[in-house]
Subunit: 225 residues, 8 copies
Amino acid sequence: GYAKVDHQRGVRQGVAEVVYGAGKTPAQMAGIVASMRAAGQERVLVTRLAPEAADELRALLQASDPLAAEAFAYHELPRFGLVGGLPEPDGNGPIVIAAAGTSDLPVAEEAALTAEVLGNVVVRLYDVGVAGIHRLLAHADDIASAQVVVAVAGMEGALASVVGGLASCPVIAVPTSVGYGASFGGVAALLAMLNSCASGVSVVNIDNGFGAGYQASSINHLKAK
Amino acid sequence: GYAKVDHQRGVRQGVAEVVYGAGKTPAQMAGIVASMRAAGQERVLVTRLAPEAADELRALLQASDPLAAEAFAYHELPRFGLVGGLPEPDGNGPIVIAAAGTSDLPVAEEAALTAEVLGNVVVRLYDVGVAGIHRLLAHADDIASAQVVVAVAGMEGALASVVGGLASCPVIAVPTSVGYGASFGGVAALLAMLNSCASGVSVVNIDNGFGAGYQASSINHLKAK
Amino acid sequence: GYAKVDHQRGVRQGVAEVVYGAGKTPAQMAGIVASMRAAGQERVLVTRLAPEAADELRALLQASDPLAAEAFAYHELPRFGLVGGLPEPDGNGPIVIAAAGTSDLPVAEEAALTAEVLGNVVVRLYDVGVAGIHRLLAHADDIASAQVVVAVAGMEGALASVVGGLASCPVIAVPTSVGYGASFGGVAALLAMLNSCASGVSVVNIDNGFGAGYQASSINHLKAK
Amino acid sequence: GYAKVDHQRGVRQGVAEVVYGAGKTPAQMAGIVASMRAAGQERVLVTRLAPEAADELRALLQASDPLAAEAFAYHELPRFGLVGGLPEPDGNGPIVIAAAGTSDLPVAEEAALTAEVLGNVVVRLYDVGVAGIHRLLAHADDIASAQVVVAVAGMEGALASVVGGLASCPVIAVPTSVGYGASFGGVAALLAMLNSCASGVSVVNIDNGFGAGYQASSINHLKAK
Amino acid sequence: GYAKVDHQRGVRQGVAEVVYGAGKTPAQMAGIVASMRAAGQERVLVTRLAPEAADELRALLQASDPLAAEAFAYHELPRFGLVGGLPEPDGNGPIVIAAAGTSDLPVAEEAALTAEVLGNVVVRLYDVGVAGIHRLLAHADDIASAQVVVAVAGMEGALASVVGGLASCPVIAVPTSVGYGASFGGVAALLAMLNSCASGVSVVNIDNGFGAGYQASSINHLKAK
Amino acid sequence: GYAKVDHQRGVRQGVAEVVYGAGKTPAQMAGIVASMRAAGQERVLVTRLAPEAADELRALLQASDPLAAEAFAYHELPRFGLVGGLPEPDGNGPIVIAAAGTSDLPVAEEAALTAEVLGNVVVRLYDVGVAGIHRLLAHADDIASAQVVVAVAGMEGALASVVGGLASCPVIAVPTSVGYGASFGGVAALLAMLNSCASGVSVVNIDNGFGAGYQASSINHLKAK
Amino acid sequence: GYAKVDHQRGVRQGVAEVVYGAGKTPAQMAGIVASMRAAGQERVLVTRLAPEAADELRALLQASDPLAAEAFAYHELPRFGLVGGLPEPDGNGPIVIAAAGTSDLPVAEEAALTAEVLGNVVVRLYDVGVAGIHRLLAHADDIASAQVVVAVAGMEGALASVVGGLASCPVIAVPTSVGYGASFGGVAALLAMLNSCASGVSVVNIDNGFGAGYQASSINHLKAK
Amino acid sequence: GYAKVDHQRGVRQGVAEVVYGAGKTPAQMAGIVASMRAAGQERVLVTRLAPEAADELRALLQASDPLAAEAFAYHELPRFGLVGGLPEPDGNGPIVIAAAGTSDLPVAEEAALTAEVLGNVVVRLYDVGVAGIHRLLAHADDIASAQVVVAVAGMEGALASVVGGLASCPVIAVPTSVGYGASFGGVAALLAMLNSCASGVSVVNIDNGFGAGYQASSINHLKAK
Ligand SMILES: Nc1ncnc2c1ncn2[C@@H]1O[C@H](COP(=O)(O)O)[C@@H](O)[C@H]1O
Ligand SMILES: Nc1ncnc2c1ncn2[C@@H]1O[C@H](COP(=O)(O)O)[C@@H](O)[C@H]1O
Ligand SMILES: Nc1ncnc2c1ncn2[C@@H]1O[C@H](COP(=O)(O)O)[C@@H](O)[C@H]1O
Ligand SMILES: Nc1ncnc2c1ncn2[C@@H]1O[C@H](COP(=O)(O)O)[C@@H](O)[C@H]1O
Ligand SMILES: [Mg+2]
Ligand SMILES: [Mg+2]
Ligand SMILES: [Mg+2]
Ligand SMILES: [Mg+2]
Ligand SMILES: [Mg+2]
Ligand SMILES: [Mg+2]
Ligand SMILES: [Mg+2]
Ligand SMILES: [Mg+2]
């Protein structure tokens, strides 16, 4: 009785259920996965899953639902556990994930894999921080042909504004907690992104790669008239 | 030489240029409007325009470009000056603007009129704060048929989460500075919206109705395959 | 001499003394428990008690006061040590504890068990976060028949406002430190709750399930005319 | 159509409707009052009403609903407009409002008059700040016989803790924005009150005398078994 | 006796004395100017001087030191009063002042005129915000040939990082209080600039154009070996 | 050459040198102690000294200066290392150290032992938090006869205000980091103490028992006329 | 009944009563002054008194207590109203008030005049900010012979640390709200002073010159053995 | 593909590439070092390198590029890995690094070694905190003959202001995270430095010794006319 699994949500929101792994025990997660699969959900994503917890979860699934255990894969960078593999992409176009630095990759991959799990083609532009602007400009074409851009950056978070100026499509900005001192765990980047002077930029929580990937996918699957 | 008007932006981003009126003198604004119209831009939106500044701007246009002055209208609630009237809507579907309370209307109207200027049909759901949840639930159909929802709220900003749970389309949340004491000028609502447990919610700056309307329009005009 | 145990308080305030375990050594706690029992206090609650400290406390009681040791139970989720078992409920009606997510359970249980120790019937509504509002609405009856509701939520803390709108009885809101990034360890939820647009909501400190349970009980034991 | 007046609320929450005056024009307020009275609500309270706005409101009522205008009174200290006079008290016992200093009186009176409008007997203990503790102790009897205490203080907000220790009934603490420098507009008092080491204290927003009076009344009207 | 005028400073720091006008009465400023000129200082700069205070200062000088009054000029944008005109530039090379938006001009001009008063050639690059990156890139040559660049921006403050990446000379970043909502009066830009991922960027206080111009001049006047 | 030991300070400020242990290696501390003793300083206090570092320091002294090692004692609660024992008290009167709760004892003892090392008689009043005000009032005589009072409290820090009202001598308030949630590591108590409505209260840094003891001693050793 | 005048305080704390003028009407102040004088208090100090309020107060006194009106003087810089003139100094020695800049004078004078009203000799060292350290060092003798030093500074608040190093007597630091941008209304100076690496420095609230003068006087009047 | 190594930067900005070690694996760092050396870069600096990561990096280089491994040295205090040794100094003059306390040394050394790696003569003035001002004044000559001064301090950060007043050359201030309580991890020092009343002071991020050393070198290598 610890969780009221929201089976209607898959229907109501048009996507597979996602389990937020942080603060849940492997046993709780296994129970939720079981309940979902029993309700007919083939693909289940567990986010914020530590490597050790992933091992325990796999073992528990092995015991209770061997098919799920077989279909389970762990992705280290984004710390994702995925039951069921990636679907065929069925979005309107490519989603570009642009990330400023090497240390932002876990968050960028959280966004990228989320989008892939939800049926999108993802183009990755990594290490394109604005202190070397030519690296980003070299990919102006990718940005121009994107349906949505996700801009991931820590420290001063300036990437969102520059990308926002180059792109004519919606940009979702993800501040990361990368940095030290006056970055205040991502607050500097968050504020910068909220104050972007480029139009068409909205923002999700610090390190919330999942939220950005989800919103990007949701935009990319809208039906046009 | 006080401003490098970015004529390419209209072309590059597919929308009309917008002038951010705050901190500009009527003379500066008249100059920018003139320059834009000279470059062929028919419709120009001036945001954050105080009523007195609007009067001065109209007078200046009267002198320099009577056609522009005639085409100029001032909208009090969103504090917008608009040269050129509303276009025919050409988006993919309706944009819903939901606002929590009476005091949030200026920001909600900033979003709504921005979206209309950019060619969208707007459905307004006002005074649907979550302390009387039935008021919002009564409009579940509007939310279900929206292409994008813009959720506008001050104080505790809870509207974004409830709307985010009801909607399967993208939700853009706008925190407002409505409130007192520990609302800290909109910070409470901003934080609530960034931490929304509903997927598919992204956030713009406090009171940035323009930004939300712009991004909503941008989403609503994406070409599907 | 490290503590002036306040034996009068039980009398003055009509409830058993509670020991705040955080920052006390097991020896200090055992000494306080002994002093209370010597003063005639049968039931003693130790809050914020780590599992290892609970073991040490039990061992110390075993040596000094075997009856207390026997009567001692440890509750893992709320991290409570309780000497003396639960009393018969004697409050005016049921206290509803509503919690938004699985990760909020330790705080919710801290409130629930506190209320039970102080002589109340507790109705638990768990996993009723507002992003799936139907889960909460399904329990509107429980809320309507409550004497007091305790609303426990982290992240955006929106539960307090929705519950506050549904309930006509007093609501005590408990923000939790559940969340990440811009939740700032519970600050986002705290601010949201303080700014609730629903009347009849008051707030306690972040993660202070005990304080909420205590006040709820105090309300539930008021004598009517 | 600017406000969906929530006529159900009176029924659902058992009290008269209250209009939050801040940010509403006199015309909007007059409209809401009219709608409420048309729906059968005899007594209407308008909070946060500036003196000039009160004059305008009275004039508007004079024109549209002379009976309402006659029944209208303005209370300067709490900045309240009240249509309909005070009801007979029908609560379980007295509500004590304790305030630390002269500057806290407007907030204290906001709480006191709210409670009186909602049918409570109010005992006022003013200028009982803790820097002269004997002033408070001289009223220990009032505190002991209260059903609820509302503790109102700015600056360091210590009153809540001392009252919380003296009272065995619930205490609602109201931080005020009285102070300067590091009081940060009431934040110092708010934090102090949230961290009160006395049990049985909950807190409302800075300067929210209305919220405290409402919650106190709600507690004072609970039906005992 | 209200001010110990620091006549040694001119000598010790190699530049003319500057009077910080904020919070000084015109009489105090006139007294300080008199004392400086008596000590042989020909050129005196008064910063943060409101237009009305400038008029009063001129009148007072007129009475006491007509030569100073004649040599006095008021510069509106940077709010500077200058006795003595601009000197011949004698720095090592040009100082570039880059500003993001129209609203940043007062601060940019405070930096520019400070540098000119201290003997520097200034190149102004205004309205080169990063949301239209081509505007900045069009001036890459100016940046490449600068001895120092001062980057002035409010809102998200991203200009400092992009300029920092383009420039090989030192960059002094000035956050401005331009913006609203989560710009928090310049804090967002300040944090962004402190966290710049480009090397060679240091930062001065919000709106401190004077400090940036002073530091730039100081760098530009260093003697090489 | 890592430290310029300030031998003049003992002379200039009339007290023994104190070594701030945090962030120094045992070897650095041993070197500083040696240098001080070589300069004739008999008594040396090392503050913020972890137990393990104390052991290492003793061992190093054993090797280099056996007399110092013999004269060395470690005090666990305040985490002090003391070479040379306590002096005869020679202050003007007693210093009272009042502490709110058991968890504040380490800081209170830091203040108390500092004062004793500097030649003062200390009266300890512990566990006198204001939620049980009678505990403090029972010691009104001690407070009345003190030369200085040091008030130590975490959480809401209200003790300083109540003590400040009772005492006619100077009160030094020490906020502690005791608490959780919105105590923000001592900030709530710090703000409360800075805003004390009692006159004659000044404040030191969070957990700075040493600073309070030092200033109390300095006050207690002033020569009267 | 708006204020419980604390006549015992004069006796209990050994000093004249002080009225905190902020937030009180002239009528309230006149009433309090009357009540004090009726209770035998000859000298009454009203702090934070605006010039216009002083005029009204004088007029009210003129009507009700002409002797008090005659004995009333208004001091503009510290915004003090004083009934009764300065007493003969009877402290142990001189109190030095050191202030960093011209803009800090109102706060410095609040401290200075408070100390004089309470019977102290005051030595004023003004405009001795640390950016021209020789100005302060030129007064090392005054600092050496002080019984207490009050250090008043805004902006970076560094004066407290330098003075704290030079003085062997207690130093009371007063941060002022002088500054702009990241001075955050005195927070930068407050934090600097709380973190002073000099021993013997304690701090009062931002702009609280009164509190510093009071505490200094209290120290300066202690009886030695 | 994890990093777009910016080989042009060495050319474009005239200095060697620097690898920011924090958040990179030894394998990633070895790859980047290899790529740089392949591109002809002889000297490579790795900052924020933990001792264990340094050992791993050396081992990896040993395997892949024995010459690099031989040329690799690890500097413990600044946590630097350096391939290639120090160059001949070729700056315009000496850079002075002044540090307030022993605990600031790691950051001071980060600045010092960075400057040496970039070809500068460095003069170290350590343990010259302002609480013993004579220690700093004893080195007035060094400061007078510097081309640039880097001022490193935690806690109250006052060193920057005093040094700024003594120096006529540019001063770069580095706040450190040294301190506790209200130092807030370096924020107190950062704010103090940003608010320095001395002209000619600019600031870098908390603990950013590298940034200060880099900019100091950049200033010291400017070509004069
Ligand atoms: N109310 C607003 N809030 C935020 N951004 C705005 C607003 N109005 C206009 N903008 C943006 O500001 C740009 C124009 O800025 P400017 O060149 O200063 O007039 C537009 O292209 C929009 O991106
Ligand atoms: N002074 C106040 N502070 C906080 N909430 C208030 C206040 N006055 C009224 N309210 C609340 O605001 C609601 C009315 O809001 P509205 O519909 O905007 O007039 C009332 O039902 C109360 O819950
Ligand atoms: N706008 C400004 N912002 C910051 N510092 C300034 C400004 N104008 C002048 N100053 C500094 O203030 C000093 C003069 O301060 P004062 O003696 O109070 O006039 C000058 O030497 C400058 O260092
Ligand atoms: N400027 C001031 N700042 C802080 N506290 C003050 C000030 N002036 C007076 N006080 C304190 O306020 C008390 C009087 O407050 P009240 O009873 O409200 O007039 C005095 O006893 C002082 O302790
Ligand atoms: Mg764009
Ligand atoms: Mg949704
Ligand atoms: Mg309710
Ligand atoms: Mg109580
Ligand atoms: Mg550069
Ligand atoms: Mg006192
Ligand atoms: Mg000292
Ligand atoms: Mg200088």
